[in-house]
């Protein structure tokens, strides 16, 4: 089976890769590049654990074929911190105890990131809609919603 060559930017770094076309973006991130922050959950687009940003939009990495990211830009949880400093969203998740077992956290962070990049001061309905594709079995979502809601405030006061 022939591999195909793609170029893609992941967390700001340019990659030239040779991949099998039947690999998913999730396979590429976890198995080829060792970026295991992106979690593998249901693999049918239901749980959101594999959520990453593709050109700034939240997508399920399990439902994107790896060759489809040719020429495009991806952000994973590993790319949120800048120069050793956590993203304000990550700080806010810690401050609000929004991380319990942690499995949903990378996906939650990226769904929240997509929301806040487009809308820095969302209301609760907008937040709940933005994370409606991410399942959390621990928190009951309240701390996560609070963490996202207060991220802008947190960022401004730090």
């Amino acid at each position: 089976m022939t591999k195909c060559a793609i170029t893609t930017t992941i967390n700001g770094r340019a990659y030239s890769l040779s991949i099998f076309p039947h690999q998913t973006l999730l396979d590429l991130l976890r198995d080829e590049l060792g970026l295991t922050g992106t979690k593998c959950g249901c693999e049918i687009g239901e749980c959101g654990a594999c959520t990453v940003l593709l050109d700034g939009e939240a997508v399920n990495a399990c439902l994107v074929l790896a060759p489809q990211v040719n020429g495009r830009s991806i952000l994973t949880v590993e790319g949120l911190a800048k120069e050793g400093k956590l993203d304000p969203l990550q700080e806010s998740f810690m401050d609000h105890d929004a991380v319990h077992c942690g499995f949903c956290t990378p996906g939650m962070l990226l769904s929240a990131k997509a929301l806040l990049d487009a809308n820095p001061h969302p209301d609760e309905t907008e937040i709940r809609t933005a994370i409606s594709g991410n399942l959390c079995r621990c928190t009951g979502y309240v701390q996560i919603v609070d963490a996202i809601k207060n991220t802008a405030v947190h960022h401004e006061t730090k």
Binding site: M1, T2, C4, F20, P21, H22, Q23, T24, E43, I44, G45, E46, G48, T51, L54, E57, A58, V59, N60, C62, L63, V64, L65, P67, Q68, N70, S111, A114, T129, A130, S132, G133, N134
Partner: protein
Amino acid sequence: MRPFEYIPIQSVEEACAHLAEYAPDASILAGGTDLLIEWRRPTGKSPKVVVDISHIRGLSGIATDGGEVSLKPLTTHTEVLKSRIIREFAPLLAKAASGIGSPQIRNRGTVGGNIMNAATCADTVPPLIALGAKVTLQSKRGSRQLALADLFIKPYHTRAAADEVLIDIRFPKLSARTRGAFIKLGRRNALSISRLSVAALLEQHSDGTIVSACIVPGAAFPTWQRVAEAESMLGGQKPSSALFAAVGQRVSEVMIAQTGRRWSTEYKEPVIAVLVRRALEQCTVQSVMQEGANA
């Protein structure tokens, strides 16, 4: 997922050439939100060749074209629900798109994929049929346009040949006198498959008298259809909850006459009637209703 040959495509002509060569072993990939799940399923269909049309620029976007709206098939559900054109001229389609899957699914899934996958629960199809949508299929042999309502044979089967690709969806703008509604019933708010849905349009005179109606249930029939037997009860009538309840009852009867009594009928029989009534109520200016709509 089993291995396949992957062909990234840049133009419709290129897609048609490859499909002419590889059909019926080829599968057309757009957003992939249905196909990747199917390909990964142990007993699912697995393609030998994947023709990836997702990068064809000309197959994406929404525009007005005279009295019509042109909706290109690679337009995502997110683009549909945010579109000013769709919100103004086909708000029931925006409503349907907003309830599909999750934000992640809506960012990848396309209207064309929703149509061509032909699952009976596809949420964009009932509104598009209600709107009178036509679709254009193209192959190396030429192109043809047909009514969306005529595209489907049975669940997951369309009349599109293996070498044909969907290149356009278009429908007339809703007139100022026509209002539409879409109601979906799922098991939860997000990431839910439609158990039943109803798309409805109601054209009314300024005094409220109904001129014409269109009712298209989803996940109720093997393929989508307008329910003419129920629509005909509405012409010339004044809107009322009692009338809408009777129309809902008629839709329920037609559904059972066509599908027979199945394990889900006990539930669907009363519920489709209520969904139809509610959809028609949503299409009606409340001030012209003959009686309370709280029932």
